[in-house]
């Protein structure tokens, strides 16, 4: 048996003490910290014990246990518990404490880090009332804990507070001869310094701020402040930056068409194309267009060469259907709703460089070109699909347009995809007595040839590209996960053609009368929309060397952007620009439920303006609750609170006060500023917040960056509060000068805030600069590089007229809105009866009708998916309660579907009322 130890390693203290105490016979060999004794571990682990059987122990505690057990002392529950506490609670804290003390020379932190575990140990010893941890005699737990704490507790330079029971116990164990001799061997009288080379080799604990037994529920604001207490150098650096002033030549305004430029960062931003038939709700808006808008506004301020394109996605069954219902042509339907979308986004100040649509000639041209290239390169395969066709209506029937008798339970109103009675999934061709839902004729089974994109053949190319893109670009975690799981489940060929009329025609002569399936067609819309913007669109889309592509979307759209569409482009082999940064949001709920058009729950794009709340406030709140990293919820009460506390009392109050002081005390001219230490400190803190903001925005952490803007105005408010310029202005010369400096600094911070706010609240941002009469160049100067907070309003600058920026949202107003958009009792009638809503009423009603079939389509899909899941669980013989839970979800979805289709949710009821 052989024990390997290294000097200066506190864990070796444990085993050497245990070895001597138990008098087990064993060779000891001293090795270096880096020596790998246990081969399979990635990091060297010492101590290590080579057992007689040839097995190895690499945990100090397991070695101690073994030594004690061989000498006849077994570990009981109590002892187990201490050993587990030592590794899970005490060690992580000790590692941090030793890092601070040994490596960073911050012995003062030790007491705070170790306070909670030491308190716990002290209490336990006191309650136990025994000299040792587990009783009257020394046990393995005592040796292990003593050795762990030895480096800290034996060093009198730490002030650790009062732990009398710990002290008594520790001294008692330390007095044991074996322990003293182990200390000598491992630390050789050098104390903590002996551990330096060992500590340097320990990996830094991840997330060391908030782990384990440390009181980590500190107020985050508090700990942040402590984190950047400002040093003298930082103050001077901030003051130097401040004095630099504005850069002389602001970048020229954008000129269309925007094209990639040599030597610039060329950024192409797309937002998922909203489906034309669907009035977007707030969740859609924050997920795609608004997020993309903030980022491209920001990019322009950073001086990047940005192009932001989007448009409506117009082809597909839902549009055809809608057209039939309204007695219009599909094109007329698209024209009508495209205008609705366009006006909503312009109300939200979405600054597209071009907002196009997919039903254009360019779309046909480009989609067909990609199709032919895929065909030439052998990435399309043919297969036959059996489908029902209604001869009278002259069309193939989508599953939802067939009804018949369930082949399983004989329920007469089963649908083409699923039976509502028995819940089983059905293949439409299996239905007995199928009927076309539109004309009630009996459809016939026709087999129809279709083309499939051969994803498996493209898989290795795709993975190679993904590996590179996800590691070098800023993909959100959910985007990576969803992509990963798609690939993990294996790629299958995907059908790219449909038997429909309303779509991009398939150019292949064998597939006449067919169109491209929307998922193949829609993303090509990004290209064709750009082509409609400029003939030189290929400079953006076939130029991966010069262009960086950002795709913004909600998470349900991820696979089409990360797997399917890249496969189309890779297979086309035409040097296409593929996505570099895929930014996906989670979902936004509405007051803890889902947005639902059919139930009238939630706020939809066209209704936001009827609330009387300014577009900028909407933008602010949606971005404040942006579902970044996790789902979030829109809540009226919260919106009112954020408006009143953050916008009105914090941000608006600060900016208004700063401006008012200049107006009232200094006749509208920025006073002379003589910076003192305190002012420089503020400049440094504000500069730090600005840097954080830029770092986060560069990574598209839009919500997180917003918090730093609000932090700055908090610092500003505090600064004014402490310095009281309104009092000092009445004092003597030096006090008046002080009031001037504080006012000048404050009004310059207000100017900085206007710049930082600009991507979020463009109108408010411009209003602030107008009120301050700020030079336009300040916008570009301060966001350069890592962020430079310069004095942009120098002494003598005359500001304009200052007035309040925000209005309070009153409780009654919010209650009324909440009621109005809360759903259930015919919410739309009440909406259109409010006076302000008159012009928008027509659109709103249309939205309701448009919503139902779309909603039904989504629900039908959800029901189908849930049905699959239940079947899969049953096939796997999963736990019964798991299955029950999923089945009840399925039933719930079906009820919703029935409601959305205008049917009575009871499956036994007679024919639905629809049509």
């Amino acid at each position: 048996m052989k024990l390997f130890v290294s000097e200066g390693n506190p864990h070796c203290l444990k085993v050497l003490a245990a070895l001597e105490l138990t008098a087990v016979k064993c060779d000891v060999q001293y090795v270096n910290h880096e020596d790998k004794v246990v081969q399979f571990l990635s990091h060297p682990a010492l101590p290590a014990l080579l057992l007689p059987s040839g097995q190895q122990l690499f945990s100090a505690n397991a070695i101690c246990r073994y030594l004690f057990e061989v000498s006849g002392q077994n570990c009981n529950d109590h002892c187990n518990q201490w050993l587990e506490w030592e590794v899970t609670v005490l060690q992580p804290a000790l590692l941090r404490a030793l890092r601070s003390a040994v490596l960073q020379g911050k012995g003062s932190d030790v007491s705070q880090i170790l306070q909670s575990p030491l308190n716990f140990l002290d209490q336990s010893l006191l309650k136990g009332g025994k000299p040792y941890l587990t009783g009257e005699a020394i046990s393995v737990a005592d040796v292990v804990l003593w050795a762990a704490l030895h480096p800290i507790l034996s060093d009198s330079s730490f002030t650790l507070g009062e732990h009398p029971s710990v002290k008594t116990w520790f001294d008692q164990v330390a007095a044991v001869h074996s322990c003293q001799s182990a200390v000598q061997k491992v630390l050789q009288g050098k104390g903590l310094q002996a551990m330096k080379s060992y500590m340097q080799r320990q990996p830094a604990p991840p997330n060391s701020q908030c782990r384990d037994a440390q009181p980590c529920n500190n107020n985050p604001a508090e700990s942040e402040e402590r984190q950047h207490s400002v040093s003298e150098e930082e103050c001077e650096a901030a003051a130097l930056t401040w004095s630099k002033g504005l850069s002389s030549c602001p970048p020229t305004d954008k000129q269309h068409p925007i094209l990639p430029q040599e030597g610039k960062r060329n950024v192409l931003v797309t937002s998922a194309l909203p489906y034309v038939n669907n009035v977007p709700h707030l969740g859609n808006i924050i997920g795609c267009v608004l997020s993309a808008d903030v980022f491209s506004r920001y990019g322009r301020l950073r001086g990047w060469n940005m192009l932001f394109v989007c448009g409506t996605d117009e082809y597909g069954t839902a549009t055809e259907n809608k057209a039939r219902e309204e007695g219009l042509t599909p094109q007329q339907i698209c024209d009508k709703y495209h205008a609705v979308h366009s006006s909503i986004y312009s109300w939200f100040q979405i600054d597209f460089d071009f907002f196009g649509r997919t039903t254009t000639e360019k779309q046909t041209e480009i989609a067909q070109n990609i199709f032919w290239r895929l065909h030439e390169h052998g990435y399309l395969v043919e297969d036959t699909v059996e489908q029902l066709r209604c001869e009278k209506c002259q069309r193939f029937l989508a599953d939802r347009f067939v009804e018949g008798t369930c082949p399983h339970c004989s329920y007469p109103e089963a649908r083409g995809d699923q039976c509502d009675k028995c819940g089983r999934l059905i293949n439409a061709v299996e239905l007995r007595d199928p009927q076309c839902k539109v004309c009630r004729q009996t459809p016939v089974i026709r087999s129809s040839k279709h083309l499939f994109l051969d994803l498996p053949k493209l898989e290795s190319q795709l993975e190679q590209w993904l590996e590179k893109s996800t590691s070098t670009g800023d993909w959100t975690t959910n985007a990576k996960q969803i992509t990963h799981s798609w690939i993990r489940d294996g790629l299958k060929p995907r059908c790219i053609t449909r038997d429909l009329h309303w779509g991009t025609p398939v150019p292949h002569p064998d597939f006449k009368e067919k169109v491209f399936y929307v998922w193949f067609d829609a993303p090509i819309g990004y290209l064709s929309i750009t082509a409609n913007y400029t003939n030189e669109w290929e400079k953006w889309w076939k130029n991966p060397q010069q262009v960086e592509l950002y795709n913004f979307m909600a998470k349900d759209n991820v696979p089409f952007h990360s797997v399917v569409f890249p496969c189309s482009l890779l297979g086309a082999q035409d040097n296409y620009t593929l996505v570099n940064h895929l930014v996906a949001t989670e979902y936004l709920n509405y007051e803890d439920t889902k947005f639902s058009k059919s139930r009238g729950v939630g706020v939809f794009g066209d209704m936001a303006k009827d609330t009387g709340i300014p577009s900028d406030v909407w933008r602010f709140y949606l971005l404040y609750v942006r579902p970044e990293g996790q789902d979030s919820a829109f809540s009226w009460a919260d919106m009112a609170m954020k408006n009143n506390s953050e916008l009105l009392n914090n941000l608006g109050n600060f900016i208004n006060r700063a401006g008012m002081f200049v107006t009232k005390f200094f006749e509208g001219c920025v006073p002379v500023m003589e910076l003192q230490r305190e002012d420089k400190e503020l400049l440094a803190v504000v500069g730090w917040e600005l840097q954080q903001y830029i770092q986060l925005m560069d990574k598209v952490k839009i919500r997180d960056a917003l918090k730093h803007i609000l932090n700055i105005s908090r610092h500003g408010n505090q600064y004014i509060q402490v310095n009281q310029p309104w009092k000092k202005i009445k004092g003597d010369e030096s006090e008046r000068q002080r009031a001037g400096t504080v006012t000048g600094v404050a009004v310059n911070i207000a100017c900085l805030l206007s710049v930082m706010l600009s991507p979020y609240m463009p109108l408010v941002s411009q209003t602030i600069r107008d009120q301050l009469n700020a030079p336009q160049s300040c916008v570009y100067t301060m966001l350069q590089g890592g962020g430079t907070f310069v004095c942009s309003l120098s002494a003598g600058h005359r500001i304009g007229t200052v007035s309040p920026l925000f209005q309070k949202l009153e409780a009654e107003q919010i209650e009324a809105l909440k009621k109005r958009f809360g759903g259930q009792q015919a919410p739309f009638q009440s909406t259109s009866s409010t006076p302000a809503a008159a012009p928008a009423a027509a659109i709103k009603v249309a939205a309701v009708e448009g919503g139902d079939s779309e909603k039904a389509e989504q629900l039908a899909k959800a029901v189908a998916e849930q049905g699959d899941k239940v079947r899969a669980l049953k096939a796997q013989k999963a736990e019964k309660d798991v299955i029950t839970a999923e089945v009840s979800k399925l039933l719930e979805l079906k009820t919703q579907l029935a409601v959305a289709e205008g049917k009575n949710p009871e499956p036994t009821s007679k024919k639905g009322k629809k049509k």
């Binding site: 399979f40 187990n80 384990d212 690939i487």
Partner: protein
């Protein structure tokens, strides 16, 4: 998480009466109220206690050596695996893969509590692996598949398809 593990363990051990657990702290450390004495705290401690209660001490190792080895892997589970980052998880899988190259179970030739708790803890990692990765960590995959088929062990966790059998090759698989 830990609580579901413990209740699955109880069922596996065939303990008649399910125990009541609570948790403490931010990390939700499990606590077992104990009639005979003070409450027991910690996943390993409670698990070992349950094993002894079920008179299945063989699961803790049959010799002093194997008992130490079992404890070592239990410790590995709570210190390395719990709360590990993406990067850690790769190195954990790598380490286990080498270790399991010439060990049937974690502690050698016998199934022990270490296998059970490691299985519960590593399940989320395995679920996230792609087919290719599972092939890369072949020994872990083999061990994992073996453990998930131990009768009455799996309980709260869904089975994971671990090894790919190639029946057909070609594009429509």
């Amino acid at each position: 998480m830990a609580l579901r593990e413990l209740s699955s363990l109880e069922k596996y051990l065939g303990l008649k009466k399910p125990n009541k657990y609570s948790t403490q702290g931010d990390k939700k450390v499990p606590v077992l109220q104990n009639n005979q004495g003070p409450p027991l705290v910690g996943l390993i401690t409670i698990a070992c206690h349950l094993v002894k209660e079920a008179k299945r001490s063989d699961l803790l190792g049959e010799s002093a050596e194997s008992r130490a080895v079992v404890q070592q892997w239990l410790e590995y589970r709570v210190t390395r695996l719990d709360g590990c980052t993406k990067e850690d998880s790769k190195s954990i899988l790598k380490e286990l893969n080498i270790h399991l190259q010439d060990n049937v179970y974690l502690a050698g030739n016998h199934f022990t509590l270490a296998d059970t708790l490691m299985y519960y803890g590593i399940h989320p990692l395995i679920v996230d692996l792609t087919v290719q990765e599972k092939e890369q960590y072949l020994n872990v995959a083999r061990w994992f598949d073996h453990i998930q088929h131990v009768p009455r062990l799996r309980h709260h966790l869904p089975p994971v398809a671990v090894l790919r059998n190639r029946i057909y090759t070609g594009r429509h698989h």
